[in-house]
Amino acid sequence: MSEPVARQQVLQLWLQSAALDTGVAAWAFHDGTDGRGPGLPEGSPPYRTGLDALRDGWFLIAVPGPTAVPEVPGELTSGFTFERRVTLD
């Protein structure tokens, strides 16, 4: 009988501003359980805001740094990272 193991799921949300309760512009889901843990809600995007992800049980582990007005717009700037730890039997 194998011991329970902890695996991490990571959710990256790029929001439309640095405020956690603004809309989602882009997202990525990295699943350390390889499909054995819970998935994301149906929908595109899966959460309307970053706050909705918190309310679904995700823990915020990284917030975007300060940004300056760009000379030319580039990458999306308001990237938040969340994690969920899942115990697998």
Binding site: Q12, L15, S17, A25, A26, W27, P70, V72, P73, G74
Partner: protein
């Protein structure tokens, strides 16, 4: 729908400047599609051979029709090459001339073949790993010579990202972007991309191979007013067209100001300024503006000189 002389209309050019792409469904006739489809496997094999030779150091024979970079487009794929029949269609020539002017040169091309059941998705990227900030641009034609259904390996792309300058290693992180699109369409459809548009190849879970031919073209002359200008005066607005004051719903500015779904408020304003700068270039009007962002700064900066 382009103008009668096959060049784009002003409204279509504004759409390209706003979103960085245009789509022409079933533009290429069936006989050309069939001839190109028959020719692509040989071209693909030659290109793969050249790529492998790069790693082994061996000499690789290019396909006999393969053009070299800097070749004038008119000299690429001479008759009876099927790809030349595609490139010299009046409808295709009109689109090319509208966007990169007369006498563009060949940059490179590639055969993008996704075998049935191909499971990998490319990371999102732009074909511009190092780019300038001036408004000149190349175009890339994505030609789909056969029908591509949903989930048939159609290219993913993100409208409105062509005005951004971001490293592909960064945008690769965006597995999903709100408002991204996935190509699906009938045989003979041509998509035209600004070279900096974010895009990615997709899996092909279906049971049919997917073939697509991509060619990049560089302008050799200023890309100014190369399209059909019959509607230009009617839609090209003055710099006072401002959504927070008085604005028109039938102007170039009205097309440029539509935000992409992924844009936040600040993003949409930064990007609108870039679209206005791009329209200044293609229209030759250094005073053009959309929603007053450039004009406001320029009015003030005059006071300090």
């Amino acid at each position: 729908m382009p103008a009668a002389d096959h060049r784009l209309t002003t409204a279509e050019m504004a759409q390209f400047v706003a979103e960085g792409h245009l789509r022409f469904a079933a533009l290429v006739p069936a006989d050309v599609n069939e001839a190109v489809l028959a020719a692509l496997p040989d071209l693909e094999q030659a290109k793969i051979g050249a790529a492998l030779a790069m790693f082994s150091g061996a000499d690789a024979l290019p396909h006999p029709d393969q053009a070299a970079s800097l070749t004038p487009l008119a000299a690429c794929y001479p008759d009876p090459a099927p790809l030349g029949r595609f490139l010299r269609l009046p409808a295709v020539q009109g689109i090319i001339e509208s966007l990169v002017g007369p006498d563009p040169v060949f940059d490179h091309d590639f055969v993008h073949h996704l075998a049935a059941g191909h499971g990998d998705a490319q990371h999102l990227h732009a074909d511009a790993v190092a780019d300038t900030t001036d408004p000149t641009f190349d175009i890339q034609l994505f030609y789909f010579p056969h029908e591509v259904g949903p989930d048939g390996g159609g290219t993913r792309f993100v409208p409105g990202t062509h005005v951004r300058r971001a490293p592909s290693s960064t945008i690769a992180a965006y597995h999903h972007v709100r408002g991204d699109e996935f190509f699906a369409g009938p045989a003979g459809t041509v998509m035209v991309f600004h070279h900096a548009l974010w895009h990615a190849g997709q899996p092909n879970p279906g049971d049919a191979d997917r073939w697509m031919y991509k060619i990049r073209l560089n302008p050799t002359q200023p890309q100014v007013k190369r399209w059909n200008l019959d509607d230009f005066d009617a839609v090209h607005n003055d710099p006072a067209d401002h959504v927070f004051a008085r604005s028109r719903s039938d102007s170039v500015a009205a097309i440029l100001r539509r935000p992409a779904r992924w844009e936040g408020t600040d993003d949409s304003r930064y990007d609108l300024m870039e679209r206005a700068r791009l329209w200044r270039y293609v229209s030759g009007d250094d005073t053009f503006d959309a929603d007053y962002y450039l004009t406001r700064h320029e009015q003030r900066s005059d006071l300090a000189t």
